[in-house]
Symmetry: C2
Subunit: 335 residues, 2 copies
């Protein structure tokens, strides 16, 4: 591994742009989910802590599943009249919007400092949202290897198995991804299920109903949910910022839908990745059919080297500035 | 369910004691963990998003497992010269220190406002720490039902299966737990494994090495890790606040160890629960053998009605004040 995750950057050492952060409030809550009652499990004895008393474990009873964790940070003073919801991509959690793997302030802090009420969630089934506690309800989760992610997230060409420690040698020339912090990025990855889309979408819609109308900033798989939520509830979504969408769902292309303004942001090296070249065609098709949408191809804008994880890239401040420039005039002022 | 988790409290509606929060920084990182290389899995095709391109999924390659997510909030100005680390109990995540289920500021905010640098983690395997992505590495996780937790966490006597919606009728008279928000509390619960103690402890020790020496405030199962970490690294733990320990590990009783000052806090209704009555005996034995330790039995101090989740109880401000009163004189000032 290029970076030993046991050796994190000193937490207070990053460039804390702009001095102190002033919040009028912060907190968290869960939205969505449903009660399920299990009645067919077999009780057994378990040791809940190494040195504790053995306890009878009866799996039968009530569980909450499908809920979503939401953590919010409200700056003082508020500048915009709508909250900004950040929806992460597949295999990640809301942590991806926080400190970058190389220790700089993440998009959460950049947009908070720009005056946005920021709500960061963990998609249902991931992170602090928990997952179905009853075996086999959702099947077996999958997780992508560091090598797979390195290629798929366009940090470089194929990384030979077991050569994570030599990632720099395989990275694209000029990459803006902080390759030396690849280990810290990999530590953020969590398993995911592949058949829980409806559960995840329902929880996102519950969030929109709880705190919307809102601006939704989404990344990768999160963009699919954002487009689906906007198609179903255009009244609850003021604008969409779609960072490297993993797919364009059919509902986003339907004739007669009420269009929500959208900025689609794509990074660099797309020509060098067959899967992303195909995705870019789909995205161009979407933007061509959506007059209130816009494609911001970073390299065509003179911003080079961005990977799929553009909110973590070393030029993330620049990417955030371009997004904020698009978003500002489309947003209600506070008050 | 007594409370519909789809209907959260308005996030900014709680009593935000003391006006704006001023932070000199906040952020997150992962500590600990190790790389594992899998080479014996069978590749297959998976659909990573509902409408995306099918992708070849090769499970072979490098994963990071056993790492721990740490989120920090540093008040401006700092008041103490040591950080305060908050370690949650079994089946929960760091979210338990945040907003209470009934929408009040949690211990994170109360101690932050008192001037502490607060570090909230999710134990390795839980929440944003992720879990081993390779099936069967750690076996099958377990999760406790709402009914089990209601009895075991001393919210009341046994709750008949499926009667979660009638929890108030089964609650102890005078309980301080916000029973009407039981559904919101249940939404915080996550599955846990039962054979990962060494992995979890290693990550906590990695956290202490990264940001310690520190004061550790732990709850329930977290207390076992706190006592084990203090026994191994007394130089890294300035003081322990042990909220309702789930067990006292043998290492905490060893003769000749270097004792770390500890405050053990116990809530109410212990006489009405056989398991907790036994635990209290173990705790009294520990305190009797540790001259720098102190047992704060809340009901003996005139504070009544506390459940196992005393940081969520309606009198949590009062509990926090008693802890802060013990902690202040034992803590280095900042600077």
């Amino acid at each position: 591994m290029t970076t030993d995750p046991a050796d994190p950057p000193p937490p207070a050492a990053g460039p804390h742009v702009g001095g102190a952060i002033r919040l009028r409030a912060m907190g968290s809550f869960h939205v969505g989910g449903e009660d399920v009652l299990l009645e067919t499990g077999a009780p057994r004895m378990v040791q809940l802590t190494r040195t504790g008393q053995p306890a009878r474990f009866d799996p039968n009873g009530t569980y909450v599943i499908g809920q979503m964790y939401v953590q919010y940070f409200l700056p003082d003073p508020a500048r915009y009249g709508r909250p900004l919801l950040m929806w992460h991509g597949g295999g990640l959690t809301g942590a991806c919007w926080e400190t970058t793997p190389d220790g700089r302030p993440g998009f959460r802090d950049l947009f908070l400092r720009a005056g946005w009420d920021v709500y960061v969630s963990d998609a249902a089934e991931r992170g602090r949202s928990g997952f179905a506690p009853v075996p086999d309800v959702w099947g077996t989760p999958i997780s992508q290897t560091v090598e797979t992610v390195f290629e798929r997230f366009r940090m470089g060409e194929a990384l030979p198995r077991g050569e994570v420690g030599r990632a720099r040698a395989h990275a694209f020339a000029g990459t803006a991804f902080p390759v030396e912090a690849l280990g810290r990025f990999a530590a953020q990855m969590v398993p995911r299920w592949t058949h829980t889309d409806d559960i995840i979408l329902a929880a996102y819609i519950a969030e929109l109903k709880a705190v919307g109308p809102a601006v939704v900033m989404a990344h990768s798989q999160g963009c699919v949910f954002a487009l689906e939520a906007a198609a179903r509830h255009p009244d609850l979504v003021e604008a969409l910022v779609l960072l490297e969408p993993a797919a364009i769902p059919a509902c986003a292309l339907e004739a007669g839908r009420r269009e929500v303004p959208a900025l689609v942001v794509l990074g660099d090296y797309i020509d060098r990745n067959v899967r992303w070249s195909k995705m870019r065609e789909d995205i161009r098709d979407f933007v061509a059919r959506a007059p209130r949408s816009e494609l911001l191809s970073l390299p065509e804008h003179g911003v080079n080297g961005n990977s799929h994880m553009l909110m973590m890239d070393t030029n993330s401040h620049e990417v955030a500035r371009l997004v904020a420039t698009w978003l500002g005039p489309r947003s209600l002022p506070a008050g």
